[in-house]
């Protein structure tokens, strides 16, 4: 690791000032992605600004039909939350299947979505549930947030504060996981909402995206059988040592069918 300066601000405003004034500052949340990246010298920030001391960034609040999860809330906290378990059980289950227990004790919602790994789990939930990402500057619709592989709509020194998840009528997330890392080889999140079916796919392509064609196929009939003839476009799929494009396309359909069946 190259040298850097470390800061532990007590408020979002202070963190924003520190990152704005740093030559090449990086926010650190749970460190589960950033620290390995720094170790590998794929990142060499001048300043590391730790969000861990900012109480206002952590916690879960349910207000009517909206479940608000603070950016610094860990995967373990979301997985164990009674409120999330009652309002959106699929979200608690998703968080409980990220990585391993030690990773879940540190890794956070904000860090996961800011990083936008093409195989990350949370992005699928943020998109499919029609969530809103709140930052220190504005609100960003979940489906506009993830723009490309490891790229988001965030500006250089913008800080995610929380994510508002609307409660669906029913939802489920199914992932075919990489057995070593638990990252999604393909993950599909489906939700039945008052406004119709919603779906998002992660792991399959360059970054998580809304799956309009799945939604269309489920419009008239929200059942696994409605996807019997569904074909995901092979030419858009990732292909790597873990799975080829055709296999991934097949997994999109199978995971989507399992997720829809689990909503029943």
């Amino acid at each position: 690791m190259y040298e850097f300066s470390y800061h532990r601000p007590a408020s979002v405003a202070e963190a924003a000032e520190l990152i704005a004034n740093a030559a090449d500052g990086k926010l650190v949340a749970g460190g589960q992605t950033l620290l390995p990246t720094i170790k590998h010298r794929l990142a060499s920030p001048s300043d590391v600004i730790d969000l861990g001391g900012i109480a206002e960034l952590s916690g879960i609040v349910v207000n009517g039909n909206i479940v608000t999860v603070g950016a610094m809330t860990t995967h373990a906290e979301v997985a164990a939350s009674k409120e999330v378990g009652e309002a959106i059980p699929a979200l608690a289950a998703l968080a409980g299947n990220i990585g391993d227990p030690a990773v879940r004790n540190c890794g956070t919602l904000g860090g996961s979505i800011a990083n936008n790994d093409p195989a990350a789990d949370y992005p699928a939930a943020v998109i499919a549930l029609g969530a809103t990402v709140r930052t220190n500057r504005r609100e960003i619709a979940g489906e506009d947030f993830f723009t490309a592989m490891f790229e988001t709509a965030l500006e250089e020194d913008e800080i995610i504060v929380a994510v508002d998840f609307p409660r669906p009528e029913a939802a489920s997330y199914m992932k075919f996981e990489n057995p070593a890392s638990r990252y999604a080889i393909v993950g599909v999140f489906v939700a039945r909402t008052a406004a119709g079916p919603r779906a998002a796919v992660t792991g399959a392509t360059a970054c998580a995206h809304r799956a309009y064609r799945l939604e269309e196929a489920l419009q008239a009939d929200f059942s696994a059988a409605a996807l019997d003839d569904f074909e995901a476009p092979v030419d858009k799929m990732n292909s790597d040592i873990h799975a080829g494009a055709e296999y991934r396309a097949h997994l999109v359909k199978v995971m989507a069918q399992r997720a829809v069946a689990a909503c029943a």
């Binding site: 690791m1 190259y2 040298e3 850097f4 300066s5 470390y6 532990r8 650190v28 460190g31 589960q32 620290l35 390995p36 720094i38 170790k39 590998h40 590391v48 730790d50 861990g52 373990a76 990585g99 391993d100 227990p101 030690a102 990773v103 004790n105 540190c106 070593a180 890392s181 638990r182």
Partner: protein, 156 residues
């Protein structure tokens, strides 16, 4: 350099660290607590698992400065003098180790599993919960046995 103050295995310690010093480096190189191992650089192997404020953490993926003010338990903090902790004893009794490199992390993760799932553990739960700990002697069978037995012994 930054000064950090923390409790390690029940004793308060302070140290001077660079911001880039990892918690595992602080434990091994400054405190000479070399029971905590480093087996990878991708945060996947779990040989470095310690408890920070009662929760399992990969100490290779936390900066020492982030543990300032925390309560840390390492493998060295488990035995009571010459008496092994029941979870350590269970690893010995069940032949839960071969080369021993992954063992400190396995034992700490085993304790974390007991904290969250209690003393009566089925094998499927232990296997799922151990997915962040890798053994390369292919000894999972006996590790799972050891953790189940250790969990039970801790409840007796």
């Amino acid at each position: 350099m930054s000064t950090i103050n923390l409790a390690v295995n029940g004793q308060s310690v302070s140290g001077e660290v660079e911001p880039r010093t990892l918690l595992v480096e602080f434990l091994r190189e400054q405190l000479r607590l070399t029971g905590t191992h480093v087996g990878c650089d991708t945060s996947q192997c779990g040989a470095c698992v310690v408890m920070v404020d009662g929760k399992s953490v990969k100490s290779c993926t936390m900066l020492a400065v982030m543990a300032d003010g925390c309560d840390v338990t390492t493998i060295e903090g488990l035995a009571d003098g010459a008496d092994l902790h029941p979870m350590q004893q269970a690893f010995m009794d069940n032949h839960g180790l071969q080369c021993g490199f992954c063992t400190p992390g396995m034992v700490m993760s085993g304790l974390d599993i007991v904290n969250r799932h209690g003393n009566d553990l089925d094998a499927a739960t232990v296997r799922r919960e151990l997915n962040g700990n890798i053994c390369r002697c292919t000894g999972y069978q006996n590790i799972v046995k050891a953790i189940r037995a250790g969990a039970k012994a801790m409840g007796d």
